[in-house]
């Protein structure tokens, strides 16, 4: 299973600690961990939001008169934000499913 420790390095991930630490070191050696990928994609969403904000500002202040570039920047920000929300919903669903487990 993929390491789900998205809260930070100090929180102990769910599952056996030995296996988890092995997985983490493996993840650091090869591909980025899920948490890192998530952080990266969130910062990408943030970048697109800021880009859209800048485009709207420069259009409103008359620095650029490029209407379609502004609209496309807005659309990009919209779609990437929706994608982020879907990922968040999925993570929350999985979390709640686990919390509902009968012990």
């Amino acid at each position: 299973m993929i390491d789900l420790s998205i809260q930070g390095p100090d929180k102990t991930p769910i599952g056996s600690p030995v296996q988890a630490s092995k997985k983490t070191s493996e993840a650091q050696g090869g591909e980025a961990s899920f948490g890192e990928v998530l952080k990266e994609s969130i910062s990408e969403v943030n970048r697109l939001q800021e880009e859209a904000d800048g485009a709207v500002q420069s259009l409103a202040s008359g620095q650029t008169t490029n209407l379609h570039e502004t609209m496309i920047a807005l659309e990009k920000a919209d779609i990437s934000f929706r994608l982020m929300m879907q990922v968040r919903n999925k993570i929350l669903d999985a979390y709640q499913e686990i919390m509902r487990t009968q012990l």
């Binding site: 990408e44 990009k76 929706r82």
Partner: protein
């Protein structure tokens, strides 16, 4: 982000068609301009478009398929070399000694046809963008 490569290509198409619209506006506005800074009547201007690679510095090498993508770029703006139309108007201040005035080589009908083509091309690129967006939203609906 690779996700929006198609959108960026269509955006270049929109920019190119907008420039073309601007040139058509310039041609139509100067249909009767008999003087310019260079001397002589206004000459019809037209854009030359060329295909250019989509290089994203953040993307590094990128995908081999993505490297084949081409956006449109304006290679240059050329002046039409066809002769202007000459009209006999002795009272015109720019008339030559024989009484003939050379008007710009702008053909109204040609410009109107170009105008329709440019606006349809703009529309086509805008449709690509909105289709791209609805495809992305459809893909996001899978998770719902």
């Amino acid at each position: 982000m690779d996700l929006f490569a198609g959108m960026d290509i269509s955006a270049s198409g929109l920019s190119a068609q907008r420039l073309r619209m601007n040139l058509i506006a310039s041609n139509l506005a100067n249909v009767n301009s008999t003087r310019t800074e260079q001397g002589g009547p206004y000459r019809r201007r037209m854009p030359v478009f060329g295909a250019a690679g989509t290089t994203d510095p953040r993307n590094g090498f990128g995908n081999a398929m993505d490297r084949e993508l081409r956006r449109v770029q304006v290679s240059g703006i050329l002046e039409d070399s066809r002769p202007g139309r000459t009209v006999y108007e002795p009272s015109h201040p720019d008339a030559n000694p024989a009484g003939y005035v050379t008007y710009p080589n702008v053909n109204l009908i040609e410009e109107m046809a170009d105008l329709i083509t440019a606006s349809r091309s703009y529309e086509a690129n805008a449709t690509v963008i909105s289709t791209f967006k609805s495809m992305a939203l459809k893909a996001l609906e899978i998770g719902r």
